[in-house]
C-alpha cells in the first residue's frame, strides 16, 4: 500500500531526434519537496508535462499516487495541481472569477467551493486582490494566482514549473515559505528551476538533469559531497607555520598545501568528523591554531561541475 506520491519510471520522451527526456527515474515521498534542477532545455518542463497528463511519454511511465499518467489520467488529475511555466488567463476576468471558475471545473460545489476559495485566497494572500482584473496584476501576484489555481482542489501532489522565475527576492522568499508550508501540510511538491541556489533552501532533495538525463539525485549536501570528496581548509597558525606545513605535507589525507604569511591553505579528504580529528591532532602536535575554517564548493560550482556546462 505504500507507494511514492510521484514516481518517474524510466521515462523517455523524444521529439523527432531530440531526446528531451532520456531515461529519467526518481521518486518523491509524501510531504517532500523535490527540486528539479537543470539548464534551459534540459527536459524539466517535458517531464512535468507528462506528469501533469498533458503529454504522453515515448517510453516508460510516470505515476502520481500510484496511478499511471498514461492509463489513468482522470485519477491522476484529481490528485495533482500543475503550475506551468506560462500564465494561462482569460480576458475580462478578475482573480475571484478566475479561481471560482477553476474550482467549479474541479467539481467543487456549494459550501465546499466557498471554503476552497477562501482558504486558497487566504493562503496565497490574494484576498485584497479578489476583484482586481487579472490584466493589471504584477508578476508576483500572477504567480500567487497560478499557485492558487493549482491548489484550489486540494491536490496531494503539486508540480510547479519554474515558479520563482522572474520574481523579486521578497516574492521569492514568500513563495519559498508557501511551498514549505504546503509540504508541512503533507503535500508532495515537485518544483523546477535552472538555478540551484534558488531551490537549495526549500527542497528536501534535488535532482540535477541535463540533456534529458538525471545526473545526480539526493540532498544538496549529499550531492555536494559526491561532487567534492575533499573540502578546502584554511588554517592560521601563530608562529611556526613552516613546521605546520611540513607536518601537513606528511599526511596522506592532505593535498595542495600552500602557505601565505601565517595562513595555510590545503584540501582535506574526508568529512566534517575527520576535520575535527585533524584539528585535534594539530593542536596535540603543539601547533598554535588560531583559526580553522573549512568550506565546500559553492552550490554554483557544484552545479557547474555536475552539468559540465553543456547547454542545448
Amino acid at each position: 500500500m505504500s507507494h511514492p506520491m510521484i514516481e518517474l519510471r524510466r521515462l523517455h520522451r523524444f521529439f523527432g531526434t531530440t531526446r528531451a527526456v532520456n531515461d529519467v527515474s526518481f521518486e518523491v515521498q509524501r510531504g517532500e519537496v523535490f527540486g528539479f534542477i537543470g539548464p534551459n532545455g534540459a527536459g524539466k518542463t517535458t517531464s512535468m508535462r507528462i506528469l501533469a497528463t498533458l503529454e504522453l511519454p515515448t517510453y516508460g511511465d510516470a505515476f502520481v499516487d500510484g496511478f499511471s499518467c498514461i492509463n489513468d489520467p482522470d485519477r491522476v488529475r484529481r490528485r495533482l495541481g500543475f503550475m506551468p511555466d506560462y500564465f494561462g488567463t482569460y480576458t475580462d476576468v478578475n482573480c475571484y472569477e478566475y479561481l471560482d471558475f477553476f474550482a467549479r471545473s474541479y467539481g467543487l460545489a456549494g459550501r465546499q467551493r466557498h471554503q476552497a476559495l477562501q482558504h486558497t485566497m487566504g493562503f496565497t494572500k490574494l484576498d485584497e486582490l479578489a476583484h482586481k482584473p487579472i490584466r493589471g496584476l504584477s508578476k508576483g501576484m500572477k504567480q500567487r494566482l497560478c499557485l492558487g489555481r493549482a491548489m484550489i482542489h486540494d491536490p496531494a501532489v503539486l508540480i510547479l514549473d519554474e515558479p520563482a522565475n522572474g520574481l523579486d527576492p521578497r516574492a521569492r522568499i514568500e513563495l519559498r515559505e508557501m511551498i514549505r508550508e504546503l509540504a508541512a501540510n503533507g503535500k508532495s511538491v515537485l518544483v523546477s528551476s535552472h538555478i540551484l541556489t534558488e531551490l537549495a533552501e526549500m527542497c528536501d532533495r534535488v535532482g540535477i538533469i541535463e540533456r534529458g538525463q538525471l545526473l545526480a539525485v539526493g540532498t544538496v549536501e549529499e550531492i555536494q559531497h559526491e561532487q567534492q570528496p575533499h573540502r578546502e581548509v584554511k588554517v592560521r597558525v601563530l608562529g611556526g607555520a613552516e613546521g605546520a606545513r611540513a607536518w601537513l605535507v606528511g599526511r596522506s589525507d592532505v593535498n595542495d598545501v600552500t602557505l601565505v604569511g601565517e595562513e595555510l591553505k590545503f584540501s582535506h579528504q574526508g568529512d566534517r568528523d575527520s576535520e575535527v580529528v585533524l584539528l585535534r591532532e594539530m593542536i596535540l602536535a603543539g601547533f598554535r591554531v588560531a583559526e580553522f575554517a573549512s568550506h565546500s564548493q559553492s552550490l554554483e560550482d557544484v552545479f557547474m561541475a555536475v552539468t559540465k556546462g553543456i547547454v542545448q
Binding site: 500510484g66 498514461i70 492509463n71 482569460y90 471558475f101 471545473s105 467551493r113
Partner: protein, 578 residues
Amino acid sequence: MTMVQPSETQTAEGPAAPRSSPDFRETLLRWGTRLEQFLDYAGDRLNPILVKEARQSMKSKQFSVTFSLLLILSWMWTAIFVAFSVPDVFYEAWGTRLLIGYIIILSIPLFIVVPFAAFRSLAAETEDGTFELLSITSLSARQIVLGKLGSAVLQMMVYYSALAPSIAFTYLLKGVDIVSIGLLLLHTFVISVVLSILGLLAATITRARHWQVLVSVVLIAGLLFATFLADYFFIVMAIVGLPFDMPEFWMANLGLLNFWIAFGALFLIIASGQISFASDNRSTPIRMMLLLIQTMWIGWMFFLWRWNSEMYAEVFPWMMVYFAAIFWLVAGALLTGETAQLSPRAKRNLPQTLSGRVLLTWFNPGSASGYTFAMLNLATVIGTQFLAYTNIALFSSPQLQNVPGPLHTVVNSLLISRPFPDDDGWFWASLAAWGYVAGYLGTVRLFTTLARKYAPLNMLAVFLLQLVVVVMGAILPFLFLTIQTIGDPLSWHYSELQLPNWFWTMWELTWPTTRTTISPFIPGGVFAFGCLIFLLNLLSAAVEVEQVRTLAPARVREDDASLRPLEPKKRKNPWDEP
C-alpha cells in the same frame, strides 16, 4: 429566535429610522439570502464554462457591438419597410416580407457571428494556454465542448430576444401566422446550433497557428455561404408560401431537423474526441453515432416507401444505397486513418464473451476494425433492402397472404402490397457500390498500413489520401480515354477500361443507355474485387481482433473499491459490465 435578535438590538440602540420597518428588512434579508443560496445551488449544477463565459460576455465588446448593430439594423428595416408599404401593408399580406427581413437580419449574428465566436473561443483557449489548464481539471472533453456550445446558445437567446418585439409585431400584420414564425425560429435556431458545432469542430482540427488561420478563412467562407443559402431558401419559401396542408411539407421539416440533429450530434462527438486525452477511446462513441445515423436513414427510407409507394418505389432502392455508400465512403476514409494501437486503458473494457467479440470488436479503435465496421454497415443497408424485397415476393404469394396472427400484421403493414421494382438493376448497382467502397478504402488502407511502418501518418493525412485516390480513380481513366480518342470522337464511350471509374460506371448502371449495354460482369467484377480487398483487410484485422481485456492495475481497483459506495460505476460502453 436568533433571527429576531438583531432587530431587537437595533431598536434598543436608539431610534431606528421609521421608514424601514426592521421586520420588513428582516424578511427581505432572509429572502435575499435564500435567493442567493438558490442561485448558488442552480449555478453549481450549470456547466462551469457556461458560468464563466456568461460573466465574460457581459464585459465583452464584441457582444455589445453585435447587439446594438442588430437593434439598429432591425429598426432601419422597420422604418424602410413602413415608409414604402404604408398603407398597403394593412390590406395586403405583406407581413411575411417584414418577417423575412427580420429573419435575414437575425441570420447574420446567428449564422456567422455566433458560430465564429464559438470557433474563436475554443481556439483562443489553446492559444492562451488555458485549454491545457482546463483539460487537466475534472471537466471532460464533452463537457468543455458542451459548455462552449451552451454559451453560444445563450448568445443566440439574447439575439432572439432583441428581435422578439419586432417579430411579435409582424404577427399583427396580414399574412403572418404563428406556425410560420415558429417554424422559422426553430429552423434558424437548429441551423445556428449546428453551425456553432461546426465552428467548435473547426477549432479542434489543428493547434498550429498557420493552419488555424487557414481554417478560420475556410470557416468564414463556409458560414457566409451557408447564410446565403439559408436566407435564399427563406426568401423562396416566403414567396412560394408554406404548404401547411401538404404532408410532404411536414415530413421534409421533420427530415431536415432529424438530419441537423443527427449530424450535429456526430460533429459534437467528433469535436470532443479530438480534444480528449490521447489514450482515451475516441472511436467507439463516434462509431455508435454513425450506426445510429445509418439506422435513422434506413428508417426514413422505409417510412417513405411505405407511406407512398407509387411515388417512391422507383427512387427508394437507389437512394437508400447510394447515400449510404457516400456516407460510409467518407466515414470509412476517416476510420481507416485511425492508428491501430489500443491503449492499455481501452483494453480494460474490451468485450469478453464470444458473441460480444464477434459483434462488438468492430467498435474498437483501430484502422482495420474501422474499415470492417464501415463495410459491414454498408452491407447491412443493402442486405436490409434485399430482404425487404424478397419478403415482398414471399409474402405476396397467395398462400402466405393469409398467415394469421400478429406477425403477419406487422409484416403486412410494413411490406406487403408495395410494388416490386420491375428490374433488378438496383441490385447489381448496389453490389457495385459496395465493391467500389470496399475496393478503394481497402486498397488505400493496406497501402497506409505498410507506409506507417516507415513514416507516421496521421488521421488527416490518411483521410486526404483516401479522397485523392477516390477522385483520381474516376478522373484518370476518363482522361486516358479522352486522350486516346482525340480525333476519333465516335469511339468515345464507356468500356471495360472505365472499370476503376466508379462515377461513370455507377452512372451507366443507374441510367442504362441503349448506346452502351453493361454486362453483369462489370458490377460483378467490381464486387468480386471489393470482396478480395475486404478479405485481405480482414486478415490484417486479426491483430486488432486478437486483443483481449486486461485487468486494471491493483491501485486502480483499490481506488474503485474506495469510491464505489460514493459513485456507482458508470457503464462507459455497451459491453462494459455494470
